[in-house]
């Protein structure tokens, strides 16, 4: 199913920020990434999802050059990732999961040194560091040693260093981990802001609600294999159906069930007492058509509620299916 979705929903090869072809990584006998084919379109906010041990962090580490694949290829912004190839990291900003920085450096010193590594001129570094510190909420703490930063502050510094070089691709591994609710909202806003500027964001997160709120596209992997990939809404509707309609009727619902079943967008229907639960595949709001069908079948509607499918349901459905 993953391959089919990949073919039908994925972006054209020229527009790809990340592409992996049969990417494989083994740790002894454990296959962490198994012939993974990943396609991340430029300019998208792409969520990278999977349960613990699915191979997300391993894949990301291969993309940024921390691990060497045992097979397959990884291409990032047109540059093949192989061995110690600094060029492939030139346009990438990467924030690792729970980033750790040298405790002996001050916040601005770290960003200044990293900026030099990207070849940024002094004036550019100064201006950018000042703006980034403001953006991530570390203004006023830039002269403190990182050893004195809290976990959340180090997380914020991690975001700042990932955005330092004005990258074309930002890879964020669990950016909200360790942040308070305000910080989480701020991170989501930063992600949206950089994406508005045309930067591709590749976001690995356990927080499905966060992914649902910010991502335009997703990939779901499990046991190193891509189960689904494409635009978020399309994946949800293809796997879980678009919406669930809950209708409470006054009469015995048998006749109503028959009438509703005949509607082309209804994928599943079941009855719980006087309530009829209708699963649909339609993209738009289908309440008028369903109301009409019930009334024409002689039913009286007491209550109707439309609930869109969540990413969590889709995710769980996919993972359970692949077990």
């Amino acid at each position: 199913m993953g391959r089919a979705l990949l073919k039908s929903l994925g972006p054209k090869p020229l527009d790809l920020a990340i592409e992996t072809i049969d990417l494989t990584k083994r740790y002894g006998s454990l296959v962490a990434v198994n012939r993974l084919n990943l396609r991340v379109g430029k300019g998208t906010i792409h969520g990278f999802l999977g349960p613990n041990g699915a191979g997300k962090t391993t894949t990301i580490k291969i993309l940024v050059g921390l691990l060497k694949p045992d097979g397959g290829r990884a291409i990032v912004l047109g540059e093949e990732v192989h061995g110690d190839n600094p060029r492939s990291r030139l346009k990438i900003g990467y924030m690792p999961e729970l980033p750790k920085f040298p405790r002996h450096l001050k916040g601005w010193e770290l960003l200044d040194i990293y900026g030099q590594m990207y070849g940024m001129p002094l004036q550019e570094r100064r201006t950018r560091i000042k703006r980034l510190m403001e953006l991530v909420g570390l203004k006023g703490r830039e002269n403190d040693l990182i050893g004195e930063y809290s976990k959340g502050m180090q997380q914020r510094l991690g975001i700042a260093q990932a955005l330092l070089s004005e990258p074309e691709l930002v890879i964020l591994d669990e950016p909200s981990l360790g942040l308070d609710p305000v910080g989480m909202v701020e991170v989501r806003e930063i992600i949206r802001e950089i994406a508005r500027e045309g930067v591709t964001v590749f976001l690995s997160s356990h927080l499905l609600s966060e992914v649902e709120q910010v991502c335009t596209h997703i990939s779901i992997i499990h046991r190193g294999v891509c189960l689904a990939e494409g635009p978020l809404k399309d994946i949800i509707s293809k796997i879980s159906g678009s919406a669930i309609l809950e209708v409470e009727v006054a009469e015995t619902p048998d006749k109503i069930v028959e009438a509703v079943k005949r509607l082309p967008f209804v994928s599943n229907i079941h009855v719980e007492g006087s309530r009829v639960i209708i699963e649909t595949n339609a993209n738009g709001d289908v309440r008028p058509q369903i109301s009409r069908a019930i009334i024409e079948a002689g039913g009286t509607i007491i209550y109707m509620n439309l609930r869109m499918r969540s990413l969590e349901e889709t995710f769980m459905r996919l993972i359970m299916k692949s077990r």
Binding site: L67, D84, P96, F101, P102, Y114, G119, E166, E193
Partner: protein
């Protein structure tokens, strides 16, 4: 925040990147409490060396005589201090980065691992050079104030270079161990064991066996011998150790006695006579020109440095970041 106002090119200059790594490492070195501790101990020992003879002479009401050869006869940082400077400077240069996780953001910058290692070694060189420069300046100023104008001060740059070469044998051993173990405690313990084995072992081999030749090719104190100057009434101009830790002392002796020979001796516990004293216990083994001994010590030190730094580079270049 505008992410599209980039006015700098994405072609970082190697020298700018190298300077960034040196700065990153230097700021670490000078803020290390262990390094500052060893520097304070070295200054304390130098102070004691300068003032103890004065204090003793004052205590016993003896006049303080001028000594124009004080500096030349006290130059050369002792083997233990050389080792300690090397240990505290680079013990966690590589292993500490892996242990703390700070290696992750560093390796994902567009800079090659080779350049990172070169930067770390350059920073260690600058740090130790600065420490030795301070120590020698302190010794020269103090020696001149206490013992009057000094002879052969033009030898000081060579002495510092000799001490740096000796220190870098230990630096390369510790860097190679750090790359192999990726554990600071293990690196330090093994390095201390190697240092003790080389010093205790070399003393035993040198004094009690006829196999002192092997010590010419090991790091550390080396074989013990006497400087013999042909044609002088007192044939022995002083004792000398010929290992990589004593390059500075050999440089001074070579400068003072360019045509001297080094005679190696061993102790024969059963061969002495009560009338002959300690010298009757010594058995001369063989002699060789001091120039050859010095050249060999410098070559052995250089060989160790090149081989071990190459090993550290090979391991560092191929290291994968699993955690």
């Amino acid at each position: 925040m505008n992410f599209e106002d980039k006015s700098w090119s994405r072609e970082p200059k190697l020298m700018r990147q190298l300077w960034a790594v040196i700065k990153y490492e230097l700021l670490w070195n000078i803020r290390k409490k262990k390094f500052l501790g060893v520097l304070i101990v070295a200054f304390a020992i130098t102070t004691l060396n300068l003032t103890l003879p004065v204090i003793l002479r004052r205590t016993y009401d003896m006049p303080i005589e001028s000594n124009p050869n004080y500096i030349v006869s006290n130059s050369g940082i002792g083997g233990l201090m050389l080792f300690l400077f090397a240990l505290v400077t680079v013990m966690n240069s590589i292993s500490g980065e892996f242990e703390s996780g700070t290696i992750v953001p560093l390796l994902t910058k567009p800079i090659s691992r080779t350049l990172i290692l070169i930067g770390k070694i350059a920073a260690a060189f600058i740090t130790i050079f600065a420490a030795y420069l301070l120590l020698y300046t302190y010794m020269i100023v103090g020696g001149t104030i206490i013992y009057g104008p000094q002879n052969n001060l033009d030898l000081t740059p060579l002495c510092i270079l000799g001490d740096l070469l000796s220190t870098f044998v230990w630096v390369s051993i510790i860097l190679a161990l750090g790359s192999l173990t990726k554990n600071t405690i293990l690196t330090s313990v093994i390095a201390i064991m190697v240092f003790l084995a080389m010093n205790i072992g070399s003393s035993i081999i040198s004094v009690f066996t006829e196999s002192a030749w092997m010590l010419h090719y090991l790091p550390g104190n080396g074989a013990a011998g006497y400087i013999k100057v042909e044609g002088q009434p007192t044939a022995y101009a002083g004792s000398i150790s010929t290992g990589t830790d004593n390059i500075t002392k050999m440089i001074i002796q070579y400068y003072l006695h360019p045509s001297a020979n080094v005679t190696y001796v061993k102790v024969e516990l059963r061969g002495g006579s009560p009338q002959g004293g300690l010298s009757s216990l010594l058995k001369e083994l063989y002699s060789e020109p001091l120039s050859l001994v010095l050249f060999r010590a410098i070559s052995v030190a250089a060989a160790y440095i090149i081989a071990l730094i190459t090993l550290a580079w090979y391991i560092f270049k191929r290291a994968q970041i699993l955690e």
